[in-house]
């Protein structure tokens, strides 16, 4: 996947500027969305925009898109472990009232 010299390909300034503009628009959008009350949807909208922005930075600015498969595996496994922490942790907090017995 890597070019013969091992360096990332040179990305055009235009691509970078486009990503930059997208990120700024995303920021504006997230502030705008937060100022309206969408009920339970506010958080998913904010997180959706944040994830999109982060993915843009990660893929283009950090060059994961142009990098080796191994780098992609490393990034994905980092996120996977984060999900393990959140998932198994919340697995406790979300089920604490199921038994109807305090502390169980």
């Amino acid at each position: 996947m890597s070019s013969s010299s091992g360096h990332a390909p040179i990305v055009s300034v235009g691509t970078y500027v486009m990503v930059f503009v997208a990120l700024l628009i995303g920021t504006g959008l997230t502030v705008f969305a937060a100022s309206r009350d969408f009920g339970a949807l506010n958080t998913p909208i904010a997180l959706g925009i944040a994830v999109t922005k982060a993915s843009l930075v990660c893929l283009i600015f950090m060059g994961v898109r142009y990098n080796t498969p191994l780098t992609k595996v490393v990034v994905v496994s980092g996120l996977l472990w984060l999900l393990i922490l959140f998932g198994l942790g919340m697995n406790d907090y979300l089920t604490r009232t199921w038994m109807g017995v305090p502390g169980r």
């Binding site: 009232t97 017995v101 305090p102 502390g103």
Partner: protein, 315 residues
């Protein structure tokens, strides 16, 4: 206990026999594998001792059948252990509904015990034999753990919330209570004893104890002293919701969630009153955190639990 090399603690509750059986079952499985593998390793070491410095072993690289065998057999055995253990744990997590309730508060470094009839003890717990006893645990400072090996029960007392354990003592006698979660300097001094008595002896003991009113009575007094009564009026005309029959009912909160009003919800609503406010009411109740002790809190909740709607009374 009389043996000079004791192997088991006294067996004095309705679950201790089953716990011992589970323990022995796992011992049997583990002993089998330990002996099997150790015997194999020792036998091979002797049988295949190197005879000549140039010798090498036979070129054996593996066997899928064997690998599957020793993947699947341990898997099945461990799932059996899980099933049995989970079922026992589940039963130990659900106090029967007919339990008598005793509250226990851990504090560096003592156990403060309060019987529903109002008798209080420190580091000593008297219970009748043959009755289900539900213990509500609280802590005033750090995490403690209320453990009675003879009953095979144990539960952490966590500051900031209530926890529960239950047992049914079967053998009359005196047994250790330990604090099993490290809690500071005199952690190992937080030892008490549980005295199991015949039911009639227990009644006699209760009658002889100095009672300062039952938990419900004490709770009722606090309800007035802390002015709870000025807002939480029985006829729902107050600034706070009526508390008749609130315990174990489903409450609609202001943010749309529904929640069952269990001990920990009542606790939170007293201590951090604005955390979960009932729909239709303003968050105006004062916060009682730091103003009320764990024991008083338990009395107050005992009183709130005793408040029944007329319909419930009839039943």
């Amino acid at each position: 206990m009389s043996s000079s090399f004791p192997l088991f603690p006294p067996s004095a509750s309705s679950v201790s026999t089953e716990m011992d059986l589970l323990y022995l079952f796992i011992i049997a499985v583990c002993a089998f594998f330990t002996i099997l593998v150790t015997a194999m390793v020792v036998y091979f070491t002797i049988r295949y001792k190197r005879r000549h410095p140039e010798d090498v072993g036979e070129p054996i690289h593996g066997s899928i059948v064997l690998e599957l065998t020793w993947t699947i057999i341990p898997l099945i055995l461990s799932l059996v252990m899980f099933g049995w253990g989970a079922s026992l744990f589940y039963r130990l997590s659900r106090p029967p509904s007919d339990s008598m309730e005793i509250s226990v508060v851990g504090k560096q470094w003592m156990w403060k015990i309060q019987h529903p009839e109002g008798v209080r003890e420190i580091n000593e717990l008297h219970v009748p034999a043959g009755r289900n006893v539900r213990i509500t645990l609280g802590s005033e400072d750090v995490i403690h753990d209320f453990a009675i090996p003879a009953f095979r029960v144990k539960m952490d007392a966590v500051p900031g919330k209530f926890t529960t354990l239950w047992f049914n003592a079967t053998q009359i006698g005196t047994y250790h209570i330990y604090c099993a979660q490290y809690c500071g300097t005199r952690h190992s001094g937080m030892i008490g004893q549980v005295v199991v008595m015949a039911p009639q002896d227990y009644e006699a003991w209760l009658a002889g104890g100095r009672s300062t009113g039952t938990s419900v009575q004490n709770g009722e007094r606090l309800f007035t002293d802390l002015s709870c009564i000025t807002c939480h009026k029985a006829d729902s005309t107050g600034r706070g919701p009526s508390l008749l029959g609130v315990y174990d009912s489903t409450v609609q909160l202001g943010d749309g969630r529904k929640i069952v009003a269990d001990d920990n919800y009542l606790r939170e609503s007293i201590m951090n009153s604005q955390a979960k406010v009932v729909q239709g009411y303003q968050p105006i109740m004062p916060v009682f955190q730091t103003q009320i002790s764990e024991e008083n809190l338990m009395q107050l909740i005992a009183y709130i639990k005793s408040l029944k709607t007329p319909a419930q009374e009839k039943k």
